[in-house]
Protein backbone atom coordinates (compact mmCIF):
# COMPACT_ATOMS: atom_id res chain seq x y z
CA UNK A 1 0.00 0.00 0.00
CA UNK A 2 1.42 3.40 -1.00
CA UNK A 3 1.42 6.02 1.68
CA UNK A 4 1.51 9.78 1.36
CA UNK A 5 4.75 11.14 2.72
CA UNK A 6 4.58 14.59 4.23
CA UNK A 7 7.34 17.04 3.45
CA UNK A 8 8.98 19.08 6.21
CA UNK A 9 6.74 22.13 5.75
CA UNK A 10 3.61 19.98 5.93
CA UNK A 11 4.89 18.16 9.02
CA UNK A 12 5.74 21.45 10.69
CA UNK A 13 2.36 23.05 9.93
CA UNK A 14 0.49 19.91 11.05
CA UNK A 15 2.45 19.86 14.31
CA UNK A 16 1.62 23.54 14.84
CA UNK A 17 -2.09 22.98 14.20
CA UNK A 18 -2.14 19.97 16.53
CA UNK A 19 -0.48 21.95 19.32
CA UNK A 20 -2.92 24.84 18.84
CA UNK A 21 -5.87 22.44 18.92
CA UNK A 22 -4.48 20.74 22.03
CA UNK A 23 -4.09 24.07 23.80
CA UNK A 24 -7.66 25.09 22.86
CA UNK A 25 -9.10 21.76 24.07
CA UNK A 26 -7.15 21.97 27.34
CA UNK A 27 -8.34 25.56 27.84
CA UNK A 28 -11.93 24.42 27.23
CA UNK A 29 -11.61 21.67 29.85
CA UNK A 30 -10.14 24.09 32.40
CA UNK A 31 -12.72 26.72 31.45
CA UNK A 32 -15.69 24.40 31.96
CA UNK A 33 -14.21 23.18 35.25
CA UNK A 34 -13.83 26.72 36.61
CA UNK A 35 -17.27 27.76 35.31
CA UNK A 36 -18.76 24.77 37.13
CA UNK A 37 -17.03 25.81 40.35
CA UNK A 38 -18.19 29.41 39.95
CA UNK A 39 -21.80 28.38 39.23
CA UNK A 40 -21.90 25.94 42.15
CA UNK A 41 -20.33 28.37 44.60
CA UNK A 42 -22.77 31.05 43.45
CA UNK A 43 -25.67 28.71 44.09
CA UNK A 44 -24.41 27.84 47.55
CA UNK A 45 -23.93 31.50 48.45
CA UNK A 46 -27.45 32.28 47.27
Amino acid sequence: MDMITLNEAQKKSRRGRNIALGVVLFALVVGFYVVTLVKFSGGMVN
Binding site: M1, D2, M3, I4, L6, A9, Q10, S13, R14, G16, R17, I19, A20, G31, V34, V35, V38, G42
Partner: protein
Protein backbone atom coordinates in the same frame (compact mmCIF):
# COMPACT_ATOMS: atom_id res chain seq x y z
CA UNK B 1 -3.20 -1.27 -4.60
CA UNK B 2 -2.92 2.34 -3.56
CA UNK B 3 -5.23 4.32 -1.31
CA UNK B 4 -4.91 7.19 -3.74
CA UNK B 5 -4.97 5.35 -7.08
CA UNK B 6 -7.99 7.19 -8.38
CA UNK B 7 -6.34 10.57 -7.74
CA UNK B 8 -3.00 9.93 -9.33
CA UNK B 9 -3.20 11.84 -12.60
CA UNK B 10 -0.36 14.14 -11.54
CA UNK B 11 1.05 12.30 -8.58
CA UNK B 12 -0.47 11.89 -5.16
CA UNK B 13 0.43 15.28 -3.72
CA UNK B 14 -1.13 17.09 -6.66
CA UNK B 15 -4.41 15.24 -6.20
CA UNK B 16 -4.65 14.97 -2.41
CA UNK B 17 -4.01 18.44 -1.16
CA UNK B 18 -1.93 18.43 1.98
CA UNK B 19 -2.41 21.58 3.98
CA UNK B 20 0.55 23.73 4.97
CA UNK B 21 -1.70 26.19 6.79
CA UNK B 22 -0.36 27.13 10.19
CA UNK B 23 -2.41 27.94 13.29
CA UNK B 24 -1.48 31.57 12.62
CA UNK B 25 -3.20 31.41 9.22
CA UNK B 26 -6.39 30.19 10.87
CA UNK B 27 -6.07 32.97 13.44
CA UNK B 28 -5.79 35.48 10.56
CA UNK B 29 -9.19 34.24 9.32
CA UNK B 30 -10.68 35.70 12.51
CA UNK B 31 -9.75 39.27 11.49
CA UNK B 32 -7.84 39.96 14.73
CA UNK B 33 -7.88 43.75 14.35
CA UNK B 34 -11.65 43.85 13.99
CA UNK B 35 -11.85 41.37 16.87
CA UNK B 36 -9.86 43.72 19.12
CA UNK B 37 -12.42 46.48 18.48
CA UNK B 38 -15.26 44.07 19.22
CA UNK B 39 -13.61 42.91 22.45
CA UNK B 40 -13.11 46.48 23.53
CA UNK B 41 -16.65 47.70 22.85
CA UNK B 42 -18.14 44.47 24.25
CA UNK B 43 -16.12 44.99 27.42
CA UNK B 44 -17.36 48.58 27.58
CA UNK B 45 -20.98 47.37 27.47
CA UNK B 46 -20.24 44.90 30.24
CA UNK B 47 -18.49 47.47 32.44
CA UNK B 48 -21.21 50.09 31.92
CA UNK B 49 -24.08 47.73 32.71
CA UNK B 50 -25.69 47.91 36.14
CA UNK B 51 -25.25 44.78 38.20
CA UNK B 52 -22.49 42.29 38.74
CA UNK B 53 -20.95 39.49 36.75
CA UNK B 54 -18.32 37.10 38.11
CA UNK B 55 -14.95 38.09 36.57
CA UNK B 56 -14.37 34.61 35.13
CA UNK B 57 -17.88 34.44 33.64
CA UNK B 58 -17.23 37.94 32.24
CA UNK B 59 -13.97 36.70 30.74
CA UNK B 60 -15.74 33.74 29.10
CA UNK B 61 -18.42 36.11 27.79
CA UNK B 62 -15.84 38.41 26.19
CA UNK B 63 -14.05 35.38 24.75
CA UNK B 64 -17.31 34.13 23.22
CA UNK B 65 -18.09 37.56 21.76
CA UNK B 66 -14.55 37.72 20.30
CA UNK B 67 -14.72 34.20 18.85
CA UNK B 68 -18.22 34.82 17.45
CA UNK B 69 -17.00 38.01 15.78
CA UNK B 70 -13.95 36.15 14.48
CA UNK B 71 -16.16 33.35 13.14
CA UNK B 72 -18.24 35.85 11.19
CA UNK B 73 -14.94 37.24 9.82
CA UNK B 74 -13.97 33.73 8.64
CA UNK B 75 -17.38 33.31 6.96
CA UNK B 76 -16.90 36.71 5.33
CA UNK B 77 -13.49 35.64 3.99
CA UNK B 78 -14.97 32.38 2.71
CA UNK B 79 -17.70 34.18 0.76
CA UNK B 80 -15.55 37.08 -0.43
CA UNK B 81 -12.48 35.06 -1.46
CA UNK B 82 -13.06 35.97 -5.13
CA UNK B 83 -12.97 39.73 -4.59
CA UNK B 84 -10.34 39.55 -1.82
CA UNK B 85 -7.94 38.07 -4.37
CA UNK B 86 -8.24 41.17 -6.57
CA UNK B 87 -8.12 43.94 -3.95
CA UNK B 88 -4.65 45.02 -2.78
CA UNK B 89 -5.83 45.44 0.83
CA UNK B 90 -7.08 41.85 1.04
CA UNK B 91 -4.99 39.89 -1.47
CA UNK B 92 -2.70 38.51 1.24
CA UNK B 93 -5.57 37.03 3.29
CA UNK B 94 -5.21 33.26 3.89
CA UNK B 95 -7.67 32.07 1.20
CA UNK B 96 -6.52 34.22 -1.75
CA UNK B 97 -2.91 33.62 -0.67
CA UNK B 98 -3.58 29.87 -1.09
CA UNK B 99 -2.81 28.96 2.51
CA UNK B 100 -6.32 27.84 3.46
CA UNK B 101 -9.03 26.42 1.20
CA UNK B 102 -12.41 28.18 1.10
CA UNK B 103 -14.19 25.04 2.42
CA UNK B 104 -11.82 24.89 5.39
CA UNK B 105 -12.62 28.52 6.20
CA UNK B 106 -16.36 27.79 5.93
CA UNK B 107 -16.12 24.81 8.28
CA UNK B 108 -13.92 26.80 10.67
CA UNK B 109 -16.35 29.74 10.69
CA UNK B 110 -19.46 27.61 11.18
CA UNK B 111 -17.86 25.54 13.96
CA UNK B 112 -16.67 28.59 15.87
CA UNK B 113 -20.04 30.32 15.40
CA UNK B 114 -21.89 27.35 16.90
CA UNK B 115 -19.40 26.96 19.75
CA UNK B 116 -19.32 30.64 20.71
CA UNK B 117 -23.12 31.00 20.71
CA UNK B 118 -23.75 27.76 22.61
CA UNK B 119 -21.08 28.41 25.25
CA UNK B 120 -22.29 31.99 25.77
CA UNK B 121 -25.85 30.68 26.18
CA UNK B 122 -24.90 27.90 28.58
CA UNK B 123 -22.43 29.88 30.69
CA UNK B 124 -23.97 33.39 30.67
CA UNK B 125 -27.53 33.72 29.33
CA UNK B 126 -29.50 32.99 26.17
CA UNK B 127 -30.43 36.60 25.40
CA UNK B 128 -26.77 37.54 24.90
CA UNK B 129 -26.25 34.28 22.97
CA UNK B 130 -29.21 35.16 20.75
CA UNK B 131 -27.81 38.63 20.13
CA UNK B 132 -24.42 37.11 19.27
CA UNK B 133 -26.05 34.63 16.86
CA UNK B 134 -27.97 37.49 15.23
CA UNK B 135 -24.75 39.53 14.93
CA UNK B 136 -22.98 36.65 13.18
CA UNK B 137 -25.97 36.12 10.88
CA UNK B 138 -26.20 39.84 10.16
CA UNK B 139 -22.53 40.17 9.26
CA UNK B 140 -22.13 36.92 7.32
CA UNK B 141 -25.48 36.76 5.53
CA UNK B 142 -27.18 40.18 5.53
CA UNK B 143 -24.01 42.25 5.01
CA UNK B 144 -21.55 39.93 3.24
CA UNK B 145 -23.89 37.90 1.03
CA UNK B 146 -26.57 40.46 0.36
CA UNK B 147 -25.83 44.14 1.01
CA UNK B 148 -22.12 44.36 0.20
CA UNK B 149 -22.48 43.64 -3.51
CA UNK B 150 -25.92 45.14 -4.05
CA UNK B 151 -26.17 48.64 -2.53
CA UNK B 152 -23.89 51.62 -1.80
CA UNK B 153 -25.61 51.80 1.59
CA UNK B 154 -23.98 48.43 2.40
CA UNK B 155 -21.84 49.64 5.27
CA UNK B 156 -24.55 51.91 6.71
CA UNK B 157 -26.91 48.98 7.33
CA UNK B 158 -24.15 46.39 7.68
CA UNK B 159 -22.50 48.58 10.30
CA UNK B 160 -25.11 47.28 12.75
CA UNK B 161 -23.15 44.02 12.95
CA UNK B 162 -20.09 45.82 14.31
CA UNK B 163 -22.24 47.88 16.67
CA UNK B 164 -23.93 45.00 18.52
CA UNK B 165 -21.02 43.93 20.83
CA UNK B 166 -21.62 46.58 23.55
CA UNK B 167 -25.28 45.53 23.56
CA UNK B 168 -24.22 41.90 23.96
CA UNK B 169 -21.83 42.86 26.77
CA UNK B 170 -24.66 44.74 28.48
CA UNK B 171 -27.04 41.78 28.04
CA UNK B 172 -24.44 39.45 29.56
CA UNK B 173 -24.71 41.36 32.86
CA UNK B 174 -28.37 42.39 32.90
CA UNK B 175 -30.05 39.73 30.72
CA UNK B 176 -31.84 42.61 29.06
CA UNK B 177 -31.72 45.49 26.60
CA UNK B 178 -31.93 49.09 27.83
CA UNK B 179 -31.87 52.59 26.39
CA UNK B 180 -28.25 52.89 27.57
CA UNK B 181 -27.17 49.83 25.60
CA UNK B 182 -28.99 51.13 22.53
CA UNK B 183 -27.03 54.40 22.83
CA UNK B 184 -23.77 52.38 22.99
CA UNK B 185 -24.96 50.54 19.87
CA UNK B 186 -25.72 53.83 18.10
CA UNK B 187 -22.26 55.27 18.81
CA UNK B 188 -20.57 52.56 16.70
CA UNK B 189 -23.46 52.36 14.23
CA UNK B 190 -23.32 56.08 13.36
CA UNK B 191 -19.51 56.12 13.44
CA UNK B 192 -19.14 53.33 10.85
CA UNK B 193 -20.16 55.17 7.63
CA UNK B 194 -17.66 58.04 8.04
CA UNK B 195 -14.95 55.55 9.02
CA UNK B 196 -15.54 53.22 6.06
CA UNK B 197 -16.23 55.85 3.44
CA UNK B 198 -12.93 57.54 4.32
CA UNK B 199 -11.29 54.18 3.55
CA UNK B 200 -13.44 53.71 0.45
CA UNK B 201 -12.29 57.10 -0.90
CA UNK B 202 -8.62 56.16 -0.96
CA UNK B 203 -9.32 52.54 -1.92
CA UNK B 204 -11.94 53.53 -4.52
CA UNK B 205 -10.13 51.87 -7.41
CA UNK B 206 -9.88 48.60 -5.52
CA UNK B 207 -13.61 48.49 -4.83
CA UNK B 208 -14.36 49.59 -8.41
CA UNK B 209 -12.18 46.81 -9.82
CA UNK B 210 -14.22 44.12 -8.07
CA UNK B 211 -17.61 45.72 -8.64
CA UNK B 212 -18.45 46.37 -4.99
CA UNK B 213 -20.82 49.37 -5.06
CA UNK B 214 -19.19 51.59 -2.47
CA UNK B 215 -20.62 55.10 -2.29
CA UNK B 216 -17.63 56.88 -3.96
CA UNK B 217 -17.85 54.57 -6.98
CA UNK B 218 -21.63 54.78 -7.34
CA UNK B 219 -22.56 58.33 -6.30
CA UNK B 220 -19.20 60.06 -6.69
CA UNK B 221 -16.74 61.72 -4.38
CA UNK B 222 -18.81 64.86 -3.73
CA UNK B 223 -21.83 62.92 -2.43
CA UNK B 224 -19.57 60.71 -0.31
CA UNK B 225 -17.89 63.72 1.27
CA UNK B 226 -21.26 65.29 2.11
CA UNK B 227 -22.42 62.03 3.67
CA UNK B 228 -19.19 61.74 5.66
CA UNK B 229 -19.77 65.18 7.20
CA UNK B 230 -23.41 64.33 8.01
CA UNK B 231 -22.46 61.08 9.74
CA UNK B 232 -19.53 62.75 11.56
CA UNK B 233 -21.99 65.32 12.99
CA UNK B 234 -24.43 62.54 13.98
CA UNK B 235 -21.57 60.62 15.62
CA UNK B 236 -20.48 63.72 17.54
CA UNK B 237 -24.06 64.23 18.78
CA UNK B 238 -24.60 60.62 19.86
CA UNK B 239 -21.20 60.74 21.58
CA UNK B 240 -22.52 63.21 24.19
CA UNK B 241 -25.93 61.56 24.64
CA UNK B 242 -24.68 59.39 27.57
CA UNK B 243 -24.25 62.64 29.52
CA UNK B 244 -27.58 64.13 28.45
CA UNK B 245 -29.32 60.89 29.49
CA UNK B 246 -27.51 60.99 32.80
CA UNK B 247 -25.54 57.76 32.73
CA UNK B 248 -22.17 59.50 32.20
CA UNK B 249 -20.67 62.56 33.86
CA UNK B 250 -20.31 66.11 32.55
CA UNK B 251 -16.54 65.54 32.37
CA UNK B 252 -17.14 62.66 29.96
CA UNK B 253 -19.58 64.83 28.02
CA UNK B 254 -17.00 67.59 27.61
CA UNK B 255 -14.38 65.07 26.50
CA UNK B 256 -16.79 63.44 24.03
CA UNK B 257 -17.77 66.87 22.68
CA UNK B 258 -14.10 67.70 22.05
CA UNK B 259 -13.54 64.37 20.32
CA UNK B 260 -16.70 64.89 18.29
CA UNK B 261 -15.49 68.32 17.19
CA UNK B 262 -12.23 66.67 16.14
CA UNK B 263 -14.19 64.10 14.14
CA UNK B 264 -16.18 66.86 12.41
CA UNK B 265 -12.97 68.85 11.81
CA UNK B 266 -11.31 65.93 10.03
CA UNK B 267 -14.47 65.21 8.05
CA UNK B 268 -14.56 68.84 6.89
CA UNK B 269 -10.94 68.34 5.80
CA UNK B 270 -12.18 65.50 3.59
CA UNK B 271 -15.11 67.62 2.39
CA UNK B 272 -12.67 70.36 1.28
CA UNK B 273 -10.40 67.88 -0.48
CA UNK B 274 -10.50 68.44 -4.25
CA UNK B 275 -12.19 65.73 -6.34
CA UNK B 276 -9.68 63.36 -7.90
CA UNK B 277 -7.00 64.12 -5.29
CA UNK B 278 -4.32 61.45 -5.83
CA UNK B 279 -2.88 61.30 -2.30
CA UNK B 280 -6.18 61.56 -0.42
CA UNK B 281 -4.27 62.65 2.68
CA UNK B 282 -7.35 64.13 4.47
CA UNK B 283 -9.28 60.85 3.95
CA UNK B 284 -6.38 58.86 5.39
CA UNK B 285 -6.20 61.25 8.37
CA UNK B 286 -9.95 60.91 8.98
CA UNK B 287 -9.68 57.11 8.79
CA UNK B 288 -6.86 57.09 11.37
CA UNK B 289 -8.66 59.57 13.64
CA UNK B 290 -11.92 57.62 13.46
CA UNK B 291 -10.21 54.55 14.96
CA UNK B 292 -8.72 56.69 17.72
CA UNK B 293 -12.13 58.31 18.26
CA UNK B 294 -13.94 55.05 18.91
CA UNK B 295 -11.28 53.72 21.28
CA UNK B 296 -11.18 57.06 23.11
CA UNK B 297 -14.98 57.31 23.45
CA UNK B 298 -15.41 53.80 24.83
CA UNK B 299 -12.33 54.17 27.08
CA UNK B 300 -13.76 57.42 28.45
CA UNK B 301 -17.15 55.80 29.04
CA UNK B 302 -15.56 52.95 30.98
CA UNK B 303 -13.20 55.17 33.02
CA UNK B 304 -16.04 57.58 33.80
CA UNK B 305 -18.27 54.73 34.96
CA UNK B 306 -15.52 53.14 37.08
CA UNK B 307 -14.70 56.47 38.75
CA UNK B 308 -18.40 57.06 39.48
CA UNK B 309 -18.74 53.56 40.95
CA UNK B 310 -15.61 54.00 43.05
CA UNK B 311 -16.88 57.38 44.24
CA UNK B 312 -20.18 55.88 45.36
CA UNK B 313 -18.70 52.78 47.01
CA UNK B 314 -16.14 54.78 48.98
CA UNK B 315 -18.85 57.16 50.17
CA UNK B 316 -17.33 60.12 48.33
CA UNK B 317 -20.75 61.39 47.41
CA UNK B 318 -21.84 61.68 51.04
Amino acid sequence: MSVIDHHEANGPEAAVRLSEASARDFFALLKPRVMSLVVFTGLAGMVMAPGHIHPFIGFIAILCIAVGAGASGALNMWYDADIDAVMTRTASRPIPAGKIRAEEALAFGLTLSAFSVCILGIVVNWLSAGLLAFTIFFYAVVYTMWLKRSTPQNIVIGGAAGAFPPMIGWACVTNGVAIESIVLFLITFLWTPAHFWALALFKMRDYGAVGVPMLPNVSGEATTKNQIVIYAVLTAIIGVVPTTLGFSSVVYGAFAALLGLGFIWYSIGVWRMPDGDEKMAPAKKLFAFSILYLFAIFSALMIDHLIATLWLTTGGAA
